[in-house]
């Protein structure tokens, strides 16, 4: 097959995945973008074009700005903690030798547990009167949900508990791709274990780390279930993320145009984060051999 034939084959191989995305993901995206330019409340029979008015309203909406701040804070802290916690775990999983299958299975359970259940489990443990933590620390961690400025951290904690295994698994996949000889060579060169980690493992793991950061920050930015089960956004919207605001606007208030605008802003934030990580990822990836 000629090189041109190969490119044609490549296009043919990419096409189904591209088509699947376009059909089921891009279509709704465009539909939502169009909707965000309309004022549409089906239960009131309202549906008209309003241009950017929905976005204008959001710019002055204290609740929206609060939700944006909550989401950003949640994302930054949760993802940072998950990465810091997942790295040693991934290394441990990589080097555990006998029984590593067992550990891997064990740490994966929180992540396989349906989010609703995981969140309800922690809601029970964190319940301010009767929860396990409330009995151990009556006014400390146990009461965290009742404190407007702390409740968000409870949601972050639950997210970390549930998602660290996912990050660890991504990093593990990265670790497995690093040739063992490199670490051995560095050890022979007299590097300490820590030095090997810092100078060999970490740089080579960088793509995997960035990938984990990419996926997790995009996902965390859309946090919903955990907050919904733990606090429903309260007290006083102090834990409400953008997705919950969008959800409520769309489904409870039935204001589709405004809800679409919130969704779209969330989406644009996600795209911005994604592009930032991607450019970081791109800088590190050496030019592909032809």
């Amino acid at each position: 097959m000629s090189a041109r034939g190969e490119r044609r084959l490549g296009a043919a191989l990419v096409a189904p995945a591209g088509a699947a995305l376009a059909l089921v993901a891009l279509g709704p995206l465009l539909a939502t973008a169009w909707l965000s330019l309309r004022h549409r409340v089906p239960v009131l029979g309202e549906d008209r074009f309003v241009g950017l008015a929905n976005y204008g309203a959001l710019a002055h909406d204290a609740r929206f700005l609060g939700a944006l701040a909550n989401t950003a804070y949640f994302t930054a802290l949760a993802v940072a903690l998950e990465l810091v916690l997942a790295l040693p775990l991934a290394l441990a999983l990589h080097h555990a030798g006998r029984g590593r299958g067992g550990i891997r299975a064990a740490v994966l359970v929180p992540w396989i547990l349906p989010t609703v259940v995981a969140a309800k489990l922690w809601a029970l443990l964190l319940q301010p009167d009767l929860g396990l933590l409330a009995r151990i620390w009556p006014d400390g961690a146990g009461a965290v949900l009742t404190r407007p400025r702390l409740a968000l951290h409870a949601a972050i904690f639950v997210d970390v508990w549930k998602t660290t295994p996912f990050v660890a698994l991504l990093l593990l996949a990265g670790l497995q791709a690093i040739p063992e000889d490199l670490a051995r060579a560095a050890r022979v060169d007299g590097a300490s274990a820590l030095r090997v980690f810092r100078s060999i493992t970490l740089p080579l793991l960088r793509p995997a780390i960035l990938l984990a950061l990419l996926f997790r920050s995009l996902d965390a930015f859309r946090v919903f279930d955990v907050v919904f089960v733990l606090t429903e956004g309260g007290p006083g919207h102090t834990t409400e993320p953008l997705s919950l605001y969008a959800y409520r606007t769309l489904l409870r208030a039935g204001s589709f145009g405004l809800g679409a605008a919130i969704s779209l802003v969330t989406f644009l934030c996600v795209v911005a984060i994604g592009l930032a990580w991607l450019s970081a990822l791109g800088e590190r990836r050496p030019a592909e051999a032809p």
Binding site: M1, S2, A3, R4, G5, P290
Partner: protein, 345 residues
Amino acid sequence: MSVAGVRLELESLAKSYGGVPALRGVSLSVGDGKLVAVVGPSGCGKSTLLSLVAGLDAPDAGVIRIDGRVVNDLSPRERDVAMVFQSYALYPHMTVRRNLAFPLDVAGVPRREIAARVEEVAALLGLAPLLDRRPAALSGGQRQRVALGRALVRRPKVFLLDEPLSNLDAALRLGVRAELKKLHERLGATFVYVTHDQAEAMTLADRIAVLRDGALEQVGTPREIYGAPATAFVARFVGTPPVNLVAPEVLGLPEGPIDVALRPEDLRVSREAGAAGLAARVWLVEPMGSETWVTVERAGARLVARCEAAFDAPPGAPVRLGFDPRRLQRFERETGRRVVPDRPG
């Protein structure tokens, strides 16, 4: 076992990657059953040349002919070429037996014939005891032989070898080099052998093609390349220790727009006081066993000479240099091109 060699012809091959030229108009003809070594420093386009011949990349311009047939638009499988990669590229998930059988399996050769040919190649290369191992469980030399075997088993028209010895340790390399030479003689197949090691090229090749920056500097027999290099680059690339390439005044000759080259074996060094020749001082003495390499300093330049084994002198000792002016080669300083003696210049 033997393979019918075929003629491989390249005409004005050009290829660039992202605007950076890797090959510029390379024309080369390899006779049937010959081994041509393509040498040059890393990045000179050697591997690109192999990729184009193998069909892994398409040339931007030029024609590739195998056995008289233009193969530009054929895929690798249709070209009937085999290749040995620098890293051997053994399939880690397959045993040695399946690695060897793979090209035949892909080609749809009947099972029984595959088994027979794998056995034959394994016997030829001494791989029989290793057939059920995975590549990870082999030593470097063993891997190299499996890679070679995987190429041999197909009995292709053309063998392409991409620095096949560079991952072996020095002792092993000489042995495998000899084996390769015998193998080529026995098979009579057409080999294109890419290496950056001029010694390998000199010992193995029927002809050597010297590549520099994507263009051919010279094609010739090892003796032609050594004895009559077309350019200063070629002169410097072959020979150990490298040729002495200096301004003419260093050797006491009139100044001019040229450099002169003198092989180390053509430079005589004498410690006898009052001997004729150019005055110089010893800089380094390297005994090699059968001979001694002596580096001397003269007029700010360093020159190497191959002397008899017994030669010895402390650094800084005064010596006299002599040479036969007929052994001198002249190259234009600007272009590096050889100045042919019977032409004025």
